[in-house]
């Protein structure tokens, strides 16, 4: 019997419109038996497939019934009914009024944990919206819970808006999807904080009325109630302060940042009380040993399961309540730090602030808040300064170009003004991008730094042209002054900083193999840091020339002697640090070459690539830069060839030379006037390395083929050799390292 279909043929509809087809056409024929029989005839490992479909395509298929890939499976395996909020109310599985204090505390704490889990990169559907109450706060009759639910929604909404606006996240950082949930948009922020405040006041009265009175025989029941009221009060207050702080951040005035800082400090004060009262809240009830998720009243981890895309199988692991307070306190610390940015006025200082902040690998919310605090609505820095003015100030601070000096005739020259203004305008976008890059996570930063070099190469070109034009103008007007390579020096400085950061971050991200260290450190010490130092000293002398001119003018008018005390050069600290870094890199380079000579660096069997391929890949982004010109592999090999020395140094000579470099770095750093943590971190590496390289020079462990290990724990860019650990410890017994 052949089953003939009665419906019209429409082969065009195979790919699309399946649902329509399903409804119209129920002519399904069961072929299970024949199909399975036919499959058995295939050979082992043979795939029967269309010409256009191969093993490669097959790989990207999700596997059904695999707990890790199949998001839909979980819902079907759990032996309970998954109810949404309305259904749960109807079936009385959930209370919307007369909740007990422990229930409220438990629900609030779980919500906080969900919020944190969301901020750490999970989807809203699997975190905050597993709480049924936030699906529709209008249905909640209990005022405290209603206010709290609205508060949580507002916090999510503002956080999401901030993160979206700052645009410093990638899919691994943050899930911005709301899955069509309402984020309490029908209620104003002010109304929600007002509701929270009302609940808070009411609770405060309750706390007071249950407080111990003098000479009273304390009923343990009342005492417990008192504690629970207090616990709830603290939570509601924390919620209100958190929300108010976030709302304050959305205001446009700079003063609001200080206000936000005060609010988060107040919120932080509540944390220890919240932590100590966690046990008052109810816990999840069900048996989790059978693979079910912990559930408690008001929460249904599977309620949104069908909203998730198929490639979204992971069940979000909500953080534990015990860790909640620690996370909040760290978050608040970060937000406090963010607020401090407004005290930095110089663009270079701001850039350093961003770099330093990023080094702690902060969360996406604090990173975003920093971005939105810096550039309010992408126009003005801190809402008050034009980016162009910031750049001019930075130029004055760095090279004191005549064109920006009040005392120079160029300052009021129209043509000169046009030149400099258009240059500064062109600078503002790349500099904003540079600052934005520092808001991304560490791994993405590296990638983006490589790309922004192209933009800086264009700026470099323009800077040199503007310098030349200004110089020829100045020669006509004030022949005794020069305008040589001022703007160019400044851009070059930033270029070099980006390049150095790009290379160094490879150590932090553990991208390089040990056999690659030597050329990376070579590039840094022999090339980039050398360029950086000459750039800084050129800027420094340009500043001095400008200062001399000013002094002469001042002296000309009043005979008073102004040149009395020696001023600290603004760039001196940076020059010193660069010297130290250069010595550290040089020391590492020489150590690596010597270790290689002793056969202590494992090299890969280059089959499909070569050292040249790797080298070129490592420095590929530098090819877009004109100044400094990229050093190609052949050049590098020539420049670093040891045979050009007579006699060529052996490993012992190199270890000794390395030791001297580390010694030098130590000397430089120990003379830094007020050492910052970074100085101490480098010293921590430099000191043992002096000893290790000396030992190696003395032939220690020369014959062992044990490969050295490098430990980057003390400093993320400079390791110290671990292989001589034991030797080092022995030495330490004799000469205590100081």
């Amino acid at each position: 019997m052949v089953m003939k279909s009665a419906v019209e043929d429409d082969d065009a509809g195979w790919g699309l419109g399946i649902p329509e087809k399903m409804k119209n056409n129920a002519n399904w024929v069961d072929i299970t038996h024949e199909f399975k029989g036919a499959c058995k005839e295939l050979n082992l490992g043979e795939l029967l497939h269309d010409k256009l479909f191969g093993l490669f395509e097959a790989m990207s298929a999700i596997e059904m019934m695999d707990p890790k890939m199949d998001a839909g499976m979980i819902g079907n395996q759990v032996n309970r009914k998954v109810l949404n909020f309305e259904q749960a109310i109807k079936e009385e599985a959930i209370k919307v009024k007369d909740l007990s204090l422990p229930e409220l505390i438990g629900i609030i704490d779980t919500c906080f944990c969900c919020l944190i889990t969301w901020l750490e990169g999970h989807s809203l559907a699997q975190t905050v919206f597993t709480c049924l109450y936030v699906h529709n706060p209008d249905l909640i009759e209990e005022p405290a819970l209603k206010a709290f639910a609205l508060g949580i929604l507002k916090v999510c909404d503002i956080a999401r808006e901030k993160v979206n606006k700052a645009a410093v996240f990638e899919e691994e950082d943050f899930q911005a999807m709301t899955y069509g949930f309402k984020m309490a948009n029908n209620v104003t922020d002010l109304r929600v904080t007002g509701m929270l405040k009302d609940v808070e006041d009411e609770l405060q009265r309750k706390v007071k009325s249950t407080r111990i009175r003098q000479g009273e025989q304390r009923d343990p029941e009342v005492e417990r109630e008192h504690q629970q009221f207090l616990a709830l009060f603290n939570r509601i207050k924390f919620m209100r302060l958190l929300l108010t702080a976030l709302i304050t951040f959305t205001k446009k005035e700079t003063s609001s940042v200080g206000e936000a800082q005060k609010l988060v400090v107040q919120a932080a004060d509540l944390l220890s009380a919240i932590h100590s009262s966690i046990q008052h809240g109810i816990q999840s009830q069900n048996d989790t040993t059978k693979g079910d998720h912990p559930i408690m009243m008001g929460f249904e981890p599977l309620v949104n399961q069908r909203l998730l895309p198929p490639t979204f199988p992971r069940y979000a692991k909500i953080i534990k309540r015990e860790d909640m307070v620690a996370y909040f306190s760290k978050l608040i610390d970060r937000v406090k730090t963010v607020c401090d940015v407004i005290n930095t006025t110089n663009l270079h200082g701001i850039l350093d602030f961003f770099c330093e902040f990023s080094e702690q690998s902060p969360c996406v919310l604090s990173r975003s808040l920093l971005q939105t605090t810096f550039l309010i609505d992408n126009k003005k820095v801190f809402g008050t300064h034009l980016m162009q003015d910031m750049i001019k100030d930075a130029l004055r601070y760095f090279v004191s170009p005549p064109v920006l000096s009040h005392k120079c005739c160029l300052f009021n020259n129209h043509q000169a003004k046009d030149y400099i203004d258009s240059f500064v305008t062109h600078c503002s976008r790349p500099f904003c991008s540079l600052i934005q890059i520092h808001g991304h996570n560490r791994a993405r930063q590296r990638d983006k730094l490589g790309h922004i070099l192209e933009e800086f190469a264009t700026l470099q070109d323009e800077a040199e042209k503007v310098d030349a034009a200004l110089h020829s103008l100045l020669m006509k007007l004030e022949p005794q002054r020069q305008h040589l390579a001022c703007l160019g020096t400044w851009i070059l400085y930033h270029n070099l900083r980006i390049m150095i950061q790009y290379l160094l971050s490879g150590f932090e991200l553990e991208l390089y193999s040990m056999h690659e260290y030597y050329y990376i450190y070579w590039y840094l010490s022999e090339f980039l840091y050398a360029w950086l130092m000459s750039t800084l000293s050129r800027a420094d002398s340009s500043q001095m020339a400008e200062e001399r001119l000013m002094e002469e003018q001042v002296k000309g008018r009043s005979s008073k002697k102004t040149k009395k005390k020696k001023k600290v050069r603004p760039l001196s600290k940076e020059i010193t640090m660069s010297q130290a870094y250069q010595n550290m890199c040089a020391g590492m380079y020489k150590t690596m070459v010597a270790l290689d000579m002793d056969g202590k660096v494992r090299k890969p069997q280059f089959e499909l690539d070569s050292e040249q391929v790797r080298y070129e890949h490592r420095f590929a982004p530098f090819n877009s830069v004109v100044t400094p010109p990229p050093v190609h592999y052949i050049q590098f090999k020539e420049m670093s060839d040891l045979k050009k020395y007579n006699p060529p140094p052996g490993s012992t000579d190199l270890y000794l030379a390395a030791s001297k470099h580390f010694q030098q770095a130590k000397l430089i750093l120990e003379n830094v006037p007020s050492p910052d943590p970074e100085v101490n971190r480098i010293l921590k590496v430099a000191k043992p390395n002096i000893v290790v390289t000396k030992l190696l020079a003395g032939g220690h462990k020369k014959d062992t083929k044990v490969l050295p290990e490098f430990d980057f724990s003390a400093h993320k860019y400079f390791p110290w050799s671990k292989s001589s650990d034991s030797a080092l410890r022995e030495r330490q017994k004799v000469i205590p390292m100081a």
Binding site: P19, M22, V29, T32, N43, D50, K51, A61, E63, G72
Partner: protein, 112 residues
Amino acid sequence: MATMIEENGPSTHEQSGVSPSYQARQKLEGLLNKNMRIRMTDGRTLVGLFLCTDRDCNVILGSAQEFLKSTDTFSQGEPRVLGLAMIPGHHVVSIEVEADSLEDAQGFGVNH
């Protein structure tokens, strides 16, 4: 003929030999890119284009949609789009195709 390993994909050349394995391949190839409905051991049903299978009856469906528990009525809410999905053979409970697609795939649905 039995030892021949068929080059995968719908073969256009006419073969006169009628070995069981050749017939089986012809049957399956006739179903390629046809709509298929598979019920799984947990009661869910997937509907999608048949793209690939092997000896263990693992099936890959393209543009697959997931329907909850029912087989005939789709009252249980909207289907969920899965895209490319592989159903392991041991989870396949039943396989159905649309009647009109059997015209091309000889040997299926025929009592023989």
